[in-house]
Symmetry: none
Subunit: 403 residues, 2 copies
């Protein structure tokens, strides 16, 4: 798709706003038979849907629940099955660690092992983040010749390990097996190289684990580490070059800033609320062609299984829609990176409503921004990475294919 | 898809009519909120839609605006991303030049260069076609050893250059860079071979350009040529063989006759009006199984940005529907090769309504042949090259897949 699009791109002065409502899609609450979107009062989104082309976005494939990485990469135009980002890299992006090409990142867990070294709790009782912060400080003292180590706390028992080769690139490889046996009663596994080039990296990682074990030996319950999801930054075509857009990302949460940076968008400094995100949008309106705007509250409420809070988050967002429209974007697209149905209290595999407004979007019969209404929209069920070409077409930024 | 279909084909005596309304799809006029199809009075198409399976055809991919080449190849059953036809070849087809396997065709522009050879107008002020005709006559005098040259006027400043190797096939290659720098103030570029086999072709093309420059030197404003879109006839599976159909094309415009010929259809001699096309259809009814029928007026009006003219073109077409039905085809399919919304005054990327009637098409709730109504049809959004298999099935010309 990117190879098809890039040669068709033309320049103009149109403005595009892409708003991602994290975890947008939901499911009916059994008591009422209505989903979060169907329960919320959303006058502005309904009015916009009536003027827009609507449909459902499928992010990966039927039945596949997307993580935030593939969810957003799809929205940015990258086929998430082709462009995969390792879990260690996503974890590093999620704390806005300045990961560099060649670095190897892994997800770490503090865990509990018994006297014979067998795992008794893979999450060390989900120790509080403050405890994790102190433990990572201990591990930062570990020194290994030839490689720089970074140990960064994430949340609860989770941390990130990053290895950076001193001096030269190409020394490290993320093709490593995991140390986490994903079972109790077994000892953590030694990490193995999955390609010859990864031999040195495996040695460094195993040396780190041996040091960590000694440094944590006296700290119950978190007396050991588990590592998985080793990977390096993927090589992605750069969004501003593929689409010929000066592209800015406005997101309060580090994970989404990290994903936007990964594809080469400019990440704007902004505050922690959506109101501050909108102020940032207004302030930089003239300087960019494309704005990726991220709204987190919908996902948070869904992950908490809090149906009413998700309804409220949708209603708060609805109240902001006129502020966005007041800027008069040429294309306004609203969708999400995945569903987070409150009844699942987790990401879901369900396709997610999308609305696309432009002067040339064409009308369809949809007059509400809900899962059920959008299923009858003119966009049909759209693979997420097909959305950007449609956005570009509506911005009149693509010339025709073939004569 | 073609590889899947060909072995399933069975013979029978059913008749198929595929009617392409060029540039069929439109967009709502802002004043009324209704598209051309929604504005026109189309009693016959509405009645037919009510008895048909309806949907939307997507020709290339979401957001991609198809040219006439990919638009029609898709309707003929060829995946337009897999079977690409170069612009030079399309230009030659568009004037019904008898392009042969091995020939290399290019699009030419007459342009203006200053005394130092730098381009000052890439289209030489869009000189009238009559002037172009005289200039091409001058260029026809150019002789080069080993190759035959054809220079044919198209329209305004445009012409076609065709190189044909004397004696042997396989001497020429279309893998050449373009001479048009696509910018003013620069000299035309020498054409370069993009594969070793193209070296001789590049030499001949550059020699032609040098001669052309001398022959045009005194002719203001069109004193130079630009060449691009070099290509050869693609190797396409032949439509009559893949589908086991005696296939005839009835089209008044050369481009569509050329595209039908490209896939091996028999191109019937016909007049310049749709009424004459219908007379041709009746006359040859017994001799063929499949008729491709082309209606141009919808596209012309759309390209002119003339909403009312497009509405009128649709109403004229509607009046002809009973004449087609009177022939009692077993399958009647009506769609277009791309949208040409009057508000865009150009080809559009929007999916295009399709209706498919047969005794076995299955009913759906659609009772109007419009973009909005067809979005809710039982065919959904159908890739264009999936239409022919559906047509074949409705003609009971495909046996089952797997035992």
């Amino acid at each position: 798709m990117l190879e098809l699009i890039a040669p068709l791109v033309v320049q103009n002065t149109t403005k595009i706003v892409a708003l991602s409502l994290d975890g947008l899609g939901g499911l009916p609450r059994p008591e009422t038979g209505r989903s979060e979107l169907e329960t919320a009062r959303l006058p502005n989104l309904s009015a916009l849907a009536a003027e827009s082309a609507c449909g459902l976005i499928r992010h990966v494939a039927p039945g596949i629940t997307p993580g935030s990485g593939p969810g957003h990469l799809g929205l940015f135009g990258y086929d998430p099955l082709r462009y995969q980002v390792g879990r260690g890299v996503l974890e590093a992006l999620g704390i806005e660690f300045d990961l560099r090409p060649g670095d190897v990142a892994a997800r770490g867990n503090f865990c509990t092992v018994d006297a014979s070294g067998r795992i008794t709790d893979r999450r060390a009782g989900r120790i509080p983040t403050e405890v994790s912060v102190r433990l990572t400080e201990r591990l930062r003292g570990i020194r290994l010749p030839g490689v720089e180590l970074f140990v960064e706390p994430v949340k609860e028992h989770r941390f990130v390990l990053v290895l950076r080769a001193r001096g030269r690139r190409g020394v490290l490889s993320g093709r490593l097996s995991e140390s986490d046996p994903q079972a109790l009663g077994r000892a953590p596994l030694p990490v193995k190289a999955l390609e010859p080039k990864a031999t040195a990296t495996a040695r460094w990682v195993n040396a780190f684990v041996a040091h960590a074990r000694r440094r944590l030996a006296d700290i119950a319950p978190a007396n050991m580490v588990l590592l998985r999801g080793f990977d390096q930054l993927p090589k992605l075509p750069r969004f501003p070059e593929v689409f010929g857009l000066r592209a800015a990302a406005i997101a309060a949460y580090p994970m989404y800033r990290g994903l936007a940076k990964l594809v080469g968008m400019e990440v704007l400094k902004t505050g922690g609320t959506f109101g501050e995100e909108l102020a940032t949008l207004r302030e930089h309106w003239d300087a960019y062609d494309f704005f990726f705007l991220h709204y987190k509250d919908t996902d948070k409420a869904g992950e908490d299984g809090n149906f009413d809070a998700k309804v409220a988050a949708l209603e708060r967002l609805d109240a902001s829609v006129p502020d966005i429209r007041a800027l008069k974007p040429d294309v306004l697209v609203i969708t999400g990176d995945h569903a987070t149905p409150s009844v699942l209290a987790a990401h879901g595999w369900q396709p997610v409503p999308v609305l696309l407004w432009s002067r040339y979007c064409g009308a369809d019969p949809v007059t509400a921004f809900t899962e059920r209404a959008c299923a009858a929209g003119s966009l049909g069920i759209l693979p997420s990475h097909h959305l950007m070409p449609l956005v570009m077409a509506n911005a009149l930024r693509l010339t025709k294919f073939g004569a």
